[in-house]
């Protein structure tokens, strides 16, 4: 316990440096802004800013990028409540009760509940991340290559299983992502694979063009195809203070939301949206005031908002302790770490204590900053929304192009992003999920390395993965993967997931 406190103290020392504070603030502000603005999300933004993180220290870079991620969760609720416009997928649920509260004149209370609930959830989940780090690292240090492979496989399967729509197609996208990750130089033999002799591809397809193209550019096109609908600002924001009754009602929902969100965030493929939906369903079933759902029940704002923020924080756990990305944003974080020369994995906690504890401390500082940014500055964010999308999208396009060019000073990267923009649009029209592909793309090369090593050690014997006596971890992980896959085949469970995803 004292060790935890000592480590946290060290972390705060790192997080409160001027540079890290500045970039945490920058990340939170950018995150809130993109959370407020529909049509651009954390994945596109983080991939846009990745090239810029080259010049920073690793800790500062991750602090800023993390701020963007959980900041977006805060920002998304503002528009959800005021304009019935979810800025982020995880804010869709907040529109249900939050907008109704705004129409009753309680917009301020809804906004305050969302912000304070999110802050509480952020605090609790930060402690969970801090505690779990060293614990999980111990477990993971006993992992052999076969166990790593099975763990990554589990991560891929769960992210496919929890994706929207058809599971088979999602797994197909995961495999496609793995295939794309194979392009480049084979590390072990030095041979060029699928590069067509193009020198720019000898290091593989850059994941910034892939992420930006599929999540940023494709999103622009889809937004342009939908006619812009202007929602009228429902009512003045009004007082931000909650009545005593509202406090009483919101508190249990916040607690439940925090617990659920913390749990679901760790699950690969889960994340903030799943947590928000799950919390809403739970509140609808459990809350004493469930008859008020549909007319502006505060539980429907408090629970989901706490849940999505808790999940956003705890989704860092698999990344920081095991090196496995839990969702598309974490996949980008893996990329950011690799760019900085850091190998994500269980050894990272030991090897990079500044990064791990500094990030955790900064997460709490960031949540505090967001509380301040969101409530008093609501007016600013609402003004930001009044910018018509037709001015936003060329800006996004230019930032994407410059950003991707600055990676290698090569226009080839711009053309790659173009290609993946078209491909992303195509996938979206065909209902092929992009996030599983990105996760497969990032994990594929690592999985190949572990598979090779496992096979080398076992002299080509595939039984090593399910050798229960010597390798219990791998067997258990593969068993969980199988259960997850099979359970999705059962129509009952699948319908439940589809209902939750459809909101």
């Amino acid at each position: 316990m004292e060790l935890l406190i000592a480590n946290l103290a060290h972390g705060f020392g790192v997080a409160l440096s001027f540079e890290n504070l500045l970039f945490a603030l920058l990340g939170c502000v950018i995150g809130t802004a993109i959370g407020v603005l529909p049509g651009i999300g954390p994945v596109a933004t983080i991939s846009l800013l990745l090239p810029i993180t080259f010049g920073m220290s690793a800790t500062t870079a991750i602090i800023m990028l993390a701020g963007i991620f959980y900041g977006a969760q805060y920002g998304g609720s503002t528009t959800a409540i005021l304009l019935n416009l979810p800025g982020e997928v995880s804010s869709v649920v907040t529109t249900l009760e939050g907008y109704k509260m705004a129409r009753r004149g309680r917009a301020g209370a809804a906004l305050a509940t969302a912000a304070i609930g999110s802050f509480f959830a952020g605090t609790v989940s930060t402690i969970i991340v801090a505690a779990s780090g060293p614990l999980l690292t111990q477990v993971a240090l006993s992992f052999g290559p076969a166990d790593y492979f099975s763990l990554m496989l589990l991560g891929l399967i769960i992210s496919a299983v929890l994706a929207q729509g058809s599971v088979v197609k999602a797994i197909g996208m995961v495999v496609l992502g793995v295939a794309l990750g194979l392009v480049g130089t084979d590390v072990q033999t030095g041979q060029q694979r699928f590069t067509f002799g193009i020198p720019e591809l000898s290091d593989g397809i850059g994941f910034v063009p892939v992420a930006m193209g599929m999540f940023g550019i494709a999103e622009i096109i889809l937004n342009l195809e939908r006619p812009e609908s202007r929602s009228i600002l429902s009512a003045k924001v009004g007082s931000l203070f909650l009545t005593k009754e509202e406090w009483k009602r919101a508190t249990p929902s916040v607690l439940r939301g925090t617990a659920l969100g913390s749990l679901l965030g760790i699950l690969p493929g889960g994340g903030a949206s799943l947590a928000a939906f799950g919390s809403y369903m739970m509140e609808r079933k459990i809350s004493k005031y469930r008859h008020e759902f549909g007319t502006g029940a505060i539980e429907g704002v408090a629970g989901p908002e706490a849940a999505n923020n808790a999940a956003a924080q705890t989704s860092f756990i698999p990344l920081l302790t095991l090196g496995i990305p839990a969702n598309a944003v974490m996949a980008l974080m893996v990329g950011a770490l690799i760019i900085q020369g850091i190998q994500p994995g269980p050894r990272m906690v030991e090897a990079q204590p500044d990064l791990f504890w500094g990030l955790i401390a900064s997460m709490w500082v960031g949540n505090l900053m967001l509380l301040v940014i969101n409530l008093p500055m609501i007016g600013v964010w609402v003004k930001l929304l009044e910018v018509p999308y037709k001015y936003l999208y060329p800006s996004i396009l230019i930032f994407c192009s410059i950003g991707v060019y600055s990676l290698n000073n090569n226009v080839f990267d711009i053309y790659m992003t173009l290609f993946f923009g078209v491909f992303g649009y195509l996938c979206s029209k065909l209902r092929l999920e992009a996030a599983p592909m990105l996760i497969g793309f990032v994990l594929g090369p690592m999985m190949e390395e572990h598979l090779r090593r496992a096979m080398l050690l076992s002299r080509g014997d595939p039984y090593v993965f399910i050798d229960y006596q010597n390798r219990p971890i791998s067997t258990v992980l593969l068993a969980i993967s199988a259960v997850a896959l099979l359970s999705m085949m059962l129509p009952g469970i699948r319908k439940g997931k589809d209902k939750a995803m459809a909101g």
């Binding site: 295939a179 041979q191 622009i220 096109i221 060329p394 192009s401 410059i402 060019y405 226009v411 029209k429």
Partner: protein
């Protein structure tokens, strides 16, 4: 039989990619399970992809109607038109003497502009054309000019844009990008046309 068009095409696409991948993988040494060659993992991956794609296609025969949006005749014709135009421009650019990535950029620009002939394809065509323009102009004409041209092309995708608005946007972006990318981040890119500063 309830045909699911979207899944049919999705599965077909996955199978196609898998087949191409396996074909490209022919030259790579497979090695053994114990000592995997460079072709081993691709082989596993593409066979798995082919299997999944086939599953999706089979399922698509029964999954119930999920048709693509209706395409107008012009939109259907625009696709092969764009592909042909892209290749033609690519080869012309090569034969005229452009080296490096210019032929690819011109080809992509040609394809994007060609597909924008159909109004339904304008968003995707013109936004990407703007990107292609940016890529083509950046090295020789510098950042500022490239921003101007790219934004002008991209704003054509949104019919409600007015010239004054576009002008304002261009000026705003030039100033903002200069401040963020040149002054603050100091990225290595020519700001003004290369032939002017020499």
């Amino acid at each position: 039989m309830k045909l699911n068009t979207k899944n049919l095409i999705s599965g077909g696409l996955l199978v196609l990619i898998a087949v191409v991948g396996l074909w490209l993988n022919q030259d790579h040494n497979l090695g053994t399970a114990r000592r995997m060659g460079p072709g081993y993992m691709p082989m596993l991956t593409f066979w798995l992809l082919a299997g999944l794609g086939a599953l999706v296609v089979v399922g698509a025969l029964f999954n119930g109607p999920d048709p693509l949006d209706d395409w107008t005749k012009l939109e259907i014709l625009a696709v092969p038109f764009a592909l042909v135009a892209g290749f033609v421009v690519f080869f012309i650019a090569r034969s005229v003497g452009f080296v490096g990535w210019y032929p690819l950029g011109f080809g992509l620009l040609g394809a994007c502009l060609a597909i924008s002939v159909a109004p339904g394809w304008r968003p995707i065509g013109l936004v990407h054309a703007g990107m292609a323009v940016f890529g083509l102009m950046l090295d020789q004409f510098g950042l500022m000019i490239s921003i101007v041209c790219a934004v002008v092309v991209a704003t054509l995708a949104e019919p409600t844009h007015r010239p004054k608005g576009v002008l304002g946007l261009v000026i705003f972006l030039c100033v903002l990008c200069w401040w963020v990318f040149i002054r603050e981040l100091d990225i290595r890119v020519p700001v003004w046309p290369v032939f002017l500063t020499q």
